[in-house]
Amino acid sequence: MKKAMSLVLAAAMAFSFAACGGASGTSGATSTASGAASTTGTASGAAIKIGGIGPLTGGAAIYGNAVKNGAELAVEEINAQGGLQFVLNFQDDENDPEKSLNAYNNLKDWGMQALLGTVTTQPCLTVAPETAADNMFLLTPSASAVDVIKEDNAFQVCFTDPNQGVASADYIADNGLATKIAVIYDSSDAYSSGIHDKFKEEAAKKGLEIVADEAFTADNKTDFSVQVQKAKSSGAELVFLPIYYSEANLIIQEMNKQGCTATVFGCDGLDGLLTIEGADTSLFEGVMLLTPFAADAQDEKTQNFVSKYQEKFGETPNQFAADAYDGVYTILAACEQGGVTADMDASAICDALKTAMTQITVDGLTGEGMKWEATGEVNKAPRAVKIQNGAYTAM
């Protein structure tokens, strides 16, 4: 009896696989086939399908959700304007390369024509070569490693990690902020170690002395007393933190406890310090960071974006939301430049966008006059801000 049952179960399994595979397969096929035929028929048929991938759950969810919200806001605005219409489908990848690949395949079944993603670096390294093989246009709002844009179909809205490292070292040297520098970074994180390596190189060129170079890992990021102690005893005038804000918060607290008075300087990962709930923001006074976006900047565009975002999602947007918002507008600008319409297939759109990307200039939230190289790297001026009286002030 048992055998018969297992046979039945096995058969059922095989059939259910066949059924799901078959069902979704046919629907995918018909949608692409009919996409060209019935573009005027339905509203969604006339819109360019933009896929998004990022972590909506798990430890990095804050970034994925910010990107999703920022992109949604931009798509709504664009659709309200008339002209080219977009439809956004954002899928969760849990910050896992394998899940990211699954999400990408899923979006392909949906009929995605351009990809806004992925949000985080590691999954993007896995998905980018796939998009190159499929000739699918990829614009990542926030995956900052250089390898992400190795293929010619991939573009970035954010700075690359090495650029941030170089820009930080240049900024510190050119403004004479300090000569003795301590670095504390996360060696298990691609973003952090990427910035760290280039910073070290550039610092040596600029005559900055790195007196302490301390690492921690993702499994070991709650107690920073040793690293801070070393930074303090090395006599550093400035502590460079190329890390994310939650760890930076702990480090700054530890510095305060140990009476270390060195200036803190960070990159865009520190954006978010002021939004930590229950943190003593008075400790953050004087912290400097390079960030492309500050939510309380006074220009009209930013204020408009922030108020709309707050109204819709009930929170202050961070740099990731701004990157995504700019990303969608960049795709729009490139589509208009390249004459892309919704009835073109993904590969044709990719070819058109690839050339269009190098011709456009976008004034966005994260930079004025953003331009792109054919390599996929963005050209915009880095901005440094300083925390004063609990708010960012431009420097």
């Binding site: 179960l9 399994m13 696989f17 799901c20 078959g22 969760d92 699954n102 994180d189 070290k200 993702a218």
Partner: protein, 364 residues
């Protein structure tokens, strides 16, 4: 039919397991050649094979040897990285099938060596202690791999635990493992066919081991270690045998996994992955190889099938896991299932069919 009936019970059961795998392969190939397979399903075929191999090999340790191991992802990562490094250096210039096979073998052997090294001290521990040490092993391996910088140029390997610039490579140097970023820019080599072959090899090794003299010795250790020792069974030897085989197969699965993607980072191989595989094993039934195969395949596909539910996806997944667990393992539910099954088979169409068959046979 007659051959099937006169066969040993275990042989027949094993054949069914192989049959399921082969049938799955044929159905998928058929659908794929007909263009009926979605991109999403196509992308999942190789990971399914990987997780099936991992679940079956872990079942050897957990179900057959009876030791709880929480570091299976550690062996997988050792295999994945060693196989991928070979693939980056030499494998890509070989014909793809041969390159993949050699990479897998290297990955498997490396994982097996680690299994041996870990096994010697660890298998002297019992129960919870073993679980904790294997958990620690997995985490240590992950952290070491996170810190490794490995380069390759005409002078050979360059190795550093500091950063990529301290590798001091020549002009033609190429960074293979770049610390936390891991390996990127691999050409993909894994295919569904290779995956299914690996699954069949794994099943062949594990099922034959279980039904062999050594397998009975291993199971006797599980059931009563003292009694097994008293009957002259070399406990350490058989424990190591099971442990190393399990590690070897996990290493091969790691290579299959690594070469299915163009980038590989150590972060993936944390305890979450170990636990995930353990969940497959437990839900499929501890010690039940066929259960592991089915559970791994179904549970891997499930979260992807639930994508339509958006935010509720992981919630529903968890609920399904709990329901499946109760349905499979709870004593009351199992008893109820048997009752229902008996009722059905006494009066149901299956029984009628059997009766009709008997009659026709009698007439003939």
């Amino acid at each position: 039919m007659n051959i099937l009936k006169t066969m040993k019970k275990s042989t027949r059961s094993n054949l069914i397991t192989y049959g399921i795998v082969v049938l799955f392969y044929l159905v998928m190939q058929l659908l794929s050649s007909g263009g009926l397979l979605s991109n999403s399903m196509q992308g999942m075929l190789v990971p399914i094979c990987t997780y099936v191999v991992l679940a079956v090999s872990l079942n050897l340790t957990v179900g057959i040897l009876g030791e709880l191991s929480l570091g299976h992802a550690g062996f997988m990562s050792v295999g994945a990285f060693s196989g991928a490094v070979f693939w980056m250096i030499a494998g890509q210039s070989l014909p793809s099938v041969l390159g993949l096979a050699v990479s897998m073998l290297i990955g498997g052997v490396m994982a097996g060596v680690f299994g041996f090294l870990i096994g010697i001290p660890v298998l002297r521990l019992r129960g919870d202690y073993l679980a904790i040490v294997t958990l620690a092993f997995g985490e240590i391996i992950k952290n070491i791999l996170n810190a490794i910088y490995l380069g390759w140029d005409s002078n050979g390997f360059h190795f550093s635990m500091k950063d990529a610039t301290s590798l001091n490579m020549g002009e033609d140097g190429e960074v293979i493992i770049n610390g936390a970023i891991g390996i990127s820019g691999m050409t993909k080599a894994s295919s569904f066919t290779a995956g299914i072959i690996l699954v069949l090899i794994t099943l062949f090794v594990v099922l034959n081991l279980i039904n062999s003299r050594a397998g009975r010795a291993i199971m006797s250790i599980r059931d009563n270690r003292i009694a097994a020792e008293a009957t002259g069974i070399n406990v350490t030897k058989y424990k190591l045998m099971a442990f190393i085989t399990s590690a070897f197969l996990a290493g091969m699965a790691g290579v299959l996994y690594a070469l299915n993607m163009s980038a590989l980072a150590a972060k993936k191989f944390d305890y979450n992955t170990s636990i995930l595989v353990l969940v497959f094993v437990v839900l499929g039934g501890i010690g039940n190889i066929r259960g592991s195969v089915i559970a791994a395949a179904v549970l891997y596909v499930l979260p992807e099938m639930l994508r339509g539910l958006n935010d509720y996806r992981m919630l529903i997944y968890a609920v399904i896991l709990i329901v499946m667990m109760i349905f499979n393992q709870s004593a009351q539910v199992v008893a109820w299932r048997h009752q229902v099954w008996e009722k059905l088979s006494a009066t149901g169409p299956l029984q009628k069919l059997a009766r009709v068959k008997k009659q026709t046979k009698g007439e003939a």
